[in-house]
Amino acid sequence: MNIPSELKYTKDHEWIRLNGDIATVGITDFAQSELGDIVYVEVETVDETLDAEEIFGTVEAVKTVSDLFLPLSGEIIEFNTALEDAPEKVNTDPYGEGWMIKIKCSDLSQADTLLTAEAYKKLIGA
């Protein structure tokens, strides 16, 4: 199971890459493998400002649907529109081309509550 050490994680199986106050967010390798073939990523919250743990979108696999929770409070400034035509990128490259949104964070202190790669690894028993 691929869990890059430079990223942060949530218990909802999302990863976060912080660059200043901009956070790029996707779902983990474990999450994509549990969901199976992903056919649709729906994010209708671009330009909205939401609190951490609010639902920002939905990921649909052939067999299941799963909500996406915002890991950090802030404004959703971008959705990876490449996923509209190629949602399978979430399966094939979850930490790269399969990224989902970018957030302009409103409270960077929240980042301290995120999990390290080591802690996430323990969470999923990998």
Binding site: G36, D37, Y40, V62
Partner: protein, 360 residues
Amino acid sequence: MKNIPLSKTHIALGAKMVPFAGFNMPVQYEGVNVEHETVRNAVGVFDVSHMGEFLIEGEHALELIQQVTSNDASKLTIGKAQYSCLPNDTGGIVDDLIVYRIKETTYLLVVNASNIEKDWQWIQSKNKVGATMRNLSDTYSLLAIQGPKAIEAMQSLTSHDLSAIPFYGFIVGDFAGIEHVIISATGYTGSGGFEIYCKNSEVKQIWDKVFEAGAGYGIKPIGLAARDTLRLEMGYCLYGNDIDDNTSPIEAGLGWITKFTKKFTNSEALEKEKQNGPTRKLIAFELNERGIPRHGYDIVDANGTKIGEVTSGTMAPSLNKGIGLGYVPMAFAEVGSTVFIQIRKNAIPATVVKLPFYKG
């Protein structure tokens, strides 16, 4: 939780195992889309050994079967099978099943795993004629070898001509070095192929030989997830989703297996329902826009008023669109009508279509 005989084989093949109908079952190996396409274009193997098998024997066997099932089993000759259902006394369905005529007075009933106990009790309670009943569910295994290349890929495993077995016909013969195996031209995928019934002690040898014989044809193991997308593209009902104790065979579109040429459980009420027309009907719909209908989502009209619920829904891998089944009042049931599927905040328009979704 029960294990099927080959559960270790499935785990070694990388299957994700999930509890289903009281059994630990392979839901997926490589991925649902790849597995789906394998069955549509080549050949795949499902281990569905969780299914239940009852043997009904004796001079009154047919009488009992005619009493409990909706289809006309008197039409069965030896070597023929039929799809049927067990109506209950109150307008619903106890289970759907396949009835095989094995010998003159020996029939095999194949039932859903989730209903083995319920069906056994039900049929036994109706057995006033003294038919002999045997529950073979724990001792028999079932492999479904499905796909357009199934005949060609499996021919080397038997001395019988597989292409000569008609749809819903079967033979009892040699297969993969085992004698007295039921080779049945049935399945739940719409892509052709066979179902193989054998003893638990024989299933490992058969599984291994099937994969050897199929190697040159791209054979793969297929999980329950793809079984569900395959059957739904054909519009085959799944018990517990599309039919249950409270849905009648008439409204479920199973009039074709409900034969009023004979008396059976609740047949008078069902015949009236057929004559008067049901108040609701199981429709098949395709979404006109992107989205995936799921079991339990509301079906609404143009004003947003709830008119029914989705009973089965998925993204159809062969069609690349959202498809589903659900019950709606007759006024909305006509082919070509528009209904709306409530997917989270959005009511997505959908068109009522004729089955099957997948036309091959």
